[in-house]
């Protein structure tokens, strides 16, 4: 790229400021769309992930299935496997496991739980519920129950329970009222409602009942063991890898949240693909715009190009001038577009604070540099064909015209 080509390309752009500005604003608009889509798609993915993983355990540890192993699978004999249901599914020895889990890198919270099914009675109404017995101080380790309390308090005395707002609504319950709860083991007991929470997850708000760990032990006939250990990890996307390590170190069955939420990932994938298509169209628009503008400019400047060629300018110089001009339009337009997009997205709240109805736009995922690089590249490619056409102009014909 000779310095003279650079000079002529700049000079032409500067000599026609209105035309150059118009072309660059077109590019800037395309780049703005590109960045906006990146930020929106990225923000949506973050929001959905946040909302999904916010109230659920990232990894659940349970006792592995005790089905007998087939010793000689290739023997040719007919084997009949029967599930071993003779013993309760529980983690009998769990106290030594907790410190092992807590020592694992990335683990931020560990909550041993007693779990079981039950139904609540109120008058003639019955409602099935899932009881979660949590250890003192670990109530909000998995889902932020304390922050979700809408009525009453989050204190859990031995005869207290916390219920979801939908269940309260269905049965017409209020804080302080007494409720009878019968467990799947046939044990029944009355509890006073200490508080009502709204997590925003319908199933939890309708069916989850939180109670004290020791109280749950009695209700579900689990004097020493526990049902499961739920843990949170940071970052949530590492859950599968951490789960694999915990499986080896504890010997327990581990389930990462990613396994149970494949639909979410499919959705996010489809969303990302849609975003890519829209971004590709934005780029194509830029390419078509620049290519047609360059072609028009070349037709208009035919005599100029002819005279330069007649005066000894090489084809290479002519190609350089036009490719450079198109690339400059793309680059400057892209930088301006990225800057404006950055300023526009700047005052928007972070995704975690987006209120419902608002667009979850994540400025950090705006792909600003990628947008500038791709647009500049696209502009350079868009100018190559018109530039080659310019170099093929016959000086004799061009000067004659």
């Amino acid at each position: 790229m000779s310095p003279y080509a650079v000079k002529l390309a700049f000079r032409h752009l500067l000599s026609h400021p209105g035309q150059s500005a118009l072309l660059m604003s077109g590019v800037a608009l395309g780049v703005g769309v590109f960045i906006f889509m990146s930020a929106l798609i990225g923000g949506l993915a973050t929001l959905l992930t946040l909302r999904t993983v916010g109230s659920i355990p990232h990894i659940v540890l349970e006792m592995p299935d005790r089905d007998p192993a087939v010793l000689a699978p290739q023997s040719g004999a007919q084997v009949v496997l029967q599930k071993d249901l003779s013993r309760r599914q529980q983690i009998a020895i769990w106290q030594p496991v907790v410190p092992i889990i807590e020592a694992e890198a990335g683990v931020t919270a560990v909550s041993p739980q007693i779990r079981g099914s039950a139904y609540v009675e109120r008058g003639q109404a019955l409602a099935p519920v899932g009881v979660i017995g949590v250890m003192p101080g670990k109530l909000s380790d998995i889902a932020d129950i304390e922050g979700a309390i809408v009525d009453g308090s989050s204190n859990l005395p031995t005869d207290g329970i916390l219920i979801g707002s939908r269940l309260a609504g269905d049965l017409g319950l209020r804080t302080g009222q007494v409720l009878r709860l019968t467990s799947e083991r046939g044990r029944a007991r009355s509890f006073r409602i200490s508080g009502i929470f709204t997590l925003g997850v319908a199933s939890a708000d309708r069916q989850a009942v939180y109670m004290d760990f020791t109280t749950a032990r009695a209700l579900f006939d689990l004097p020493t063991g526990i049902s499961r250990i739920e843990i949170k990890v940071e970052p949530a996307t590492d859950a599968a890898a951490i789960a694999a390590r915990l499986r080896r170190s504890t010997g327990l069955k581990t389930t990462a949240w990613t396994e149970d939420n494949s639909q979410l990932f499919e959705g996010l994938d489809a969303q990302a693909r849609t975003g890519t298509i829209i971004k590709a169209f934005a780029l194509i628009t830029i390419v078509v715009g620049i290519a047609s503008a360059m072609l028009l400019s070349i037709v208009r400047r035919q005599a100029e190009i002819g005279i330069m060629r007649a005066m000894g300018a090489s084809k290479r110089l002519v190609v350089s001038i036009f490719v450079l001009e198109g690339t400059l339009i793309g680059f400057i337009g892209a930088v301006v577009g990225a800057l404006v997009a950055w300023l526009v997205l700047l005052p928007l709240p972070p995704v975690s604070e987006v209120e419902s109805g608002g667009l979850p736009i994540d400025q950090a995922q705006g792909d600003f540099l990628l947008a500038i690089a791709l647009t500049t590249l696209a502009a350079a490619l868009a100018s190559i064909l018109p530039a080659r056409r310019a170099a093929r102009i016959d000086p004799v014909e061009a000067i004659g015209s």
Partner: protein
């Protein structure tokens, strides 16, 4: 002629089209030019003046014959060699000035040298300033063509033709677009350059008044030289 000719053309022909539609525009041109010669090329429209100048300027190839300049066989040379030759040894002045509208007068004069070198240099700038001085436009060097009169533009075009110190300047109706006074100024300029720099000029024209100012007269009729 005492010195070696700079240009030598023998039996040069140019045919456009093929078959029925074939048109023979040049029908065997023999022509030589000596260093420092100034010749007018006369002939009615369609006699082949522009075609001959275009071929001599290496902007188009002849169909047949020999075309040599400064000992280089231009019939055999490649396109790139012809472009390089053109930029080094030939200058052009056209009927329409064809100055680049985005460049100043000084930059326009420098253009052929800068295009060949790929950059502008201080030496080019100084030489272009001298040439603009010589064509009487020292005070217009930073003006763009749009701000100059027709005669001034054509004088810038003459200066541009001289930047690479060509051996031969080919001028196609250089005053065809100018009024008498401006035309006389341009011709006076060409004569003085021809005398001081010993640059050869071949000037095509319709105008007897212009032809009268050239020591040599070449007349073209129907693709043949009838007087030289």
């Amino acid at each position: 002629m005492s010195a070696e000719p700079i240009l030598s053309v023998r039996d040069l022909t140019k045919v456009f089209g093929e078959g029925e539609a074939q048109a023979k525009v040049l029908k065997g041109i023999d022509l030589t030019m000596a260093p420092g010669e100034m010749a007018a090329l006369l002939g009615p429209s369609g006699s082949g003046k522009s075609t001959l100048l275009t071929i001599l300027g290496t902007l188009m190839r002849a169909s047949g014959g020999r075309h040599e300049m400064l000992g280089v066989d231009l019939m055999q040379a490649s396109d790139a060699e012809r472009t390089a030759f053109r930029s080094r040894h030939l200058g052009f002045v056209f009927q329409f000035h064809h100055l680049l509208p985005d460049l100043t007068a000084l930059e326009n004069v420098m253009m052929p040298a800068a295009a060949a070198a790929g950059r502008e240099s201080r030496a080019m700038r100084e030489r272009a300033a001298e040439l603009l001085d010589a064509v009487g436009l020292a005070d217009r060097r930073d003006y763009r063509p749009g701000a100059l009169s027709g005669g001034q533009r054509q004088r810038v075009a003459v200066a541009r033709a001289l930047i690479n110190q060509p051996v031969l300047v080919l001028a196609d109706e250089p005053t065809g677009n100018l009024d008498r006074q401006a035309a006389d100024q341009v011709m006076q300029l060409i004569r003085s350059i021809n005398q001081t720099l010993a640059t050869s000029f071949l000037i095509s024209t319709h105008d007897e008044h212009i032809a009268g100012q050239c020591p040599r007269r070449i007349e073209l009729l129907d693709g043949r030289i009838v007087r030289s």
